[in-house]
Symmetry: C3
Subunit: 348 residues, 3 copies
């Protein structure tokens, strides 16, 4: 098994789930998401039990999700509630329903044993998503042709930034970024790390965002937390050196953003990457929010080329060894936390 | 086995088979069709016995079908009749030939044991194809990415019409169409059914075709016959309620068409769909024939989206059950007739 | 095994290997070629040993080829020479290197046991490639979706020319070309053959190139040598009948070209086809060289359609027999020479 089944996964942004069926594949299973006539989000297996037609081709009616082929209709719990031209509904006429949970702008889905699905099992709490006043943000999602693990690995090892992202968030001193201090701490739900680069030139994205004057040197931080199985939250930024960022990161005049990363397995070799950067430095400037979103969108596309190529090469050479280096410390911790969750999957 | 091999299948419309080789795949085998110098249709395995080059890249000469690579030539029976630069022809130099039969505008092919192939085994008789005077028609063929069985199933269960085709042949009262009476009768070669919808609003395609006045109510019928393994013939139409259609369907002032459906397995998960709608209501109006053809072409494209999605979902979930409903009666009979033919395949 | 591993294969034209990494697949293995800071060509497995990222996404630095993901760097021998942020380099940190050899405009690669790779094992000597004065030429490479063997077969049986290439190099008398005399001689490294067509009309490509007057008849030759495992060299041409070409092919007033064919297995069912036609009839006329290149490029594209179709049909019918004909003599000899090399692979 390459993922825990008994876990909440980010299925969609809340605004994506409407009365038009939305088809997605999670953990190799085809699912259709929709919002019923009462406004409640639901997730069903994307297969009518009558003739195996995908329900995504149907439509939401007052009664539920109606198959577009012959009109058989299911409520959000997967129960068949209507068969055209027939009064009795056979008990076998039902489709699998998946528990869903809506919180903080996210629709979460539980692909494992429904009996184990409760809100307490949701380990992610990210209140900033509900705060568009102080943390305005634009949502997005990329479909990536790599395992969700490779995408999480990417976020656990930031020495890639001065290489892949040398023209955006990784510009400036390559060696200075490589030499960042790095504090890694295991947590109950994963791993936390913080990197500091003191007295360093800010990268182009930061200059563009904060408007640092020519020649300004900054203290820059990258704080990340991985939460099993598939969430990474981030707070990064920089302040001019004279502001003492290490003691107090919350000051005007710098650049900082929070980033939410939700990485949901689609198939063994592909994933959905839900992300949103929260503008913490000019919250009342919609243009800054839009600019930040575009910069991050561009930056993540730089990653995708590498991740998809890495996936293909890794799949083609499964028996060759991999060699860890010093900067893999947080990644190795994250991998261990995930493996522990997979080992214990369903035994809680 | 998912099809009988010892049966005649619709390989092409007669006009499609010319002195230019035509490549098709039937029952997973690659075949090349051509018309020899005497005008006789022939079908060979699409593989030269010399170097396995497809014969479709060659050309028809006075002697037969000549491979385009080195010029080796075969007659319609698969016998090698010429090797460039060589007098003696080895007895092993031959390719497999498939029996073909031309009747009523159709070239039929026999993919099974040639010894069993005789004209009496052709169960389909459809004389209207030869009658362009009273039943003018345009021919077409769609390549569909679904099993031939799913396409036949589609024609055996017309409750899909008010759902998939709500804007063409299935418009008007959804419930009225669902509630049609349905008489299903097994036949020696398959199954026959007829559906009646009395005193119902005609669907948009019928109105367009017949020019029914605003508010006209009609008696509408759908008569279908399935003939194993892969033919469905249809006669459908409607007359204004005061004309007594149930007693006499052949009257002026209404709308009716015959439809020939020939569905030939291409691979396990794809088929050729040969079809032609025969204009029975305005036989002397070429524009009406053309309009009818276009309406049906559009309607069948609506089906394809569903059929191809159904094929993919069915293939992905082979172990999940399917639940029959009341309206599956004719489909179940057709499936049984086909299964019986497959069980007895080659034992006649 | 469908190819010998212990052999030199044409990996690239020398000018293709630069300080920008060049990714190719040889014998099913992904390789990256580059020229290091000293100008030396090198070939590494296209997979960083750190996280399996393809090295083709990196760049050449003073130290070697640097992975684009985290900056780990390897020299041309595959030794890791730098890990960002880390002084000690683990001994396991290395990637596989393949011996390469540069000679006569070609970069050759050895995919087998490096201990057996020496220059003496390179069986091809083609000095004309170094002579742009007397034998000017344009290089090209096609990626072809067929086994390298089918492409070599194509060059060993020229009766395909009056069929596939009837409009270019195979125009004129089809029977005259089929009836060419053919002398086949096994060599120590493969097979040699020469074909003569005396007193024959020259094909369109020859007329275009040499400017033969209307009605000129020529003596035409096709001389080919196959050198195991994957090289074919060719000298073809024609002189007006009164010049006695059979005794002396090197005369003004005719048409002749040399052609180098290097065919390297990419995968089991695809290959690289390196080729260059050397203008031997108007060496000081750059337009003639360009025209010759374009004619040959067009001609080879005529072959590709057949070769790729043949590959697909052969793969789909592995159990059906093939029937040799008289004109297969050189091809059969070439196949035997290759099989002998494969049998003895690694035992030299």
């Amino acid at each position: 098994m390459s993922w825990p089944k008994n876990a909440w996964y980010h299925a969609a942004w809340m605004h994506e789930v409407t009365d038009r069926p939305l088809a997605r594949t999670f953990l190799n299973e085809e699912v259709v998401l929709f919002r019923d006539a009462d406004g409640k989000a639901a997730a069903l297996q994307d297969r009518c039990c009558h003739r195996a037609t995908p329900l995504r081709l149907g439509e939401v009616t007052e009664l539920g999700l109606q198959c577009g082929y012959h009109g058989v209709t299911f409520d959000g719990g997967g129960t068949c509630v209507m068969i055209p031209g027939q009064d009795a509904i056979p008990s076998a006429a039902r489709v699998r329903a998946y528990p869903v949970l809506e919180r903080q702008e996210i629709v979460w889905i539980w692909m494992g044993d429904p009996a184990l699905a409760d809100e307490a099992a949701l380990l992610v709490d990210y209140p900033w998503l509900d705060d568009h006043e102080q943390w305005p943000h634009v949502h997005d999602m990329y479909e990536v042709e790599c395992s969700y693990q490779l995408l999480i690995d990417n976020l656990m090892d930031l020495t890639h930034i001065p290489f892949i992202h040398r023209n955006t968030i990784g510009g400036g001193s390559q060696q200075g970024q490589v030499n960042a201090t790095m504090d890694v701490t295991p947590t109950e739900t994963g791993v936390h790390y913080i990197r500091w680069m003191e007295n360093i030139a800010p990268p182009p994205t930061y200059v563009k965002g904060a408007g640092f004057a020519e020649g300004t040197m900054v203290d820059r931080w990258q704080e990340f937390e991985y939460i099993v199985p598939s969430t990474v939250v981030q707070w990064t930024g920089a302040l001019p050196v004279d502001l003492g960022a290490k003691e107090n990161r919350v000051q005007d005049g710098g650049f900082n953003l929070r980033l939410y990363h939700g990485v949901t397995p689609r198939t063994d070799s592909s994933c959905y990457y839900f992300w949103t950067p929260l503008n913490g430095y000019k919250p009342h400037d919609p243009e800054a929010t839009e600019l930040l979103y575009k910069e991050i969108a561009f930056t993540f596309n730089e990653d995708l080329e590498f991740l998809e190529a890495q996936q293909a090469t890794m799949a083609a050479t499964p028996d060759l060894p991999l060699v860890n280096i010093k900067h893999d410390k947080a990644r190795v911790q994250a991998n261990r936390a995930l493996e522990a969750m997979i080992s214990g999957d369903g035994q809680s």
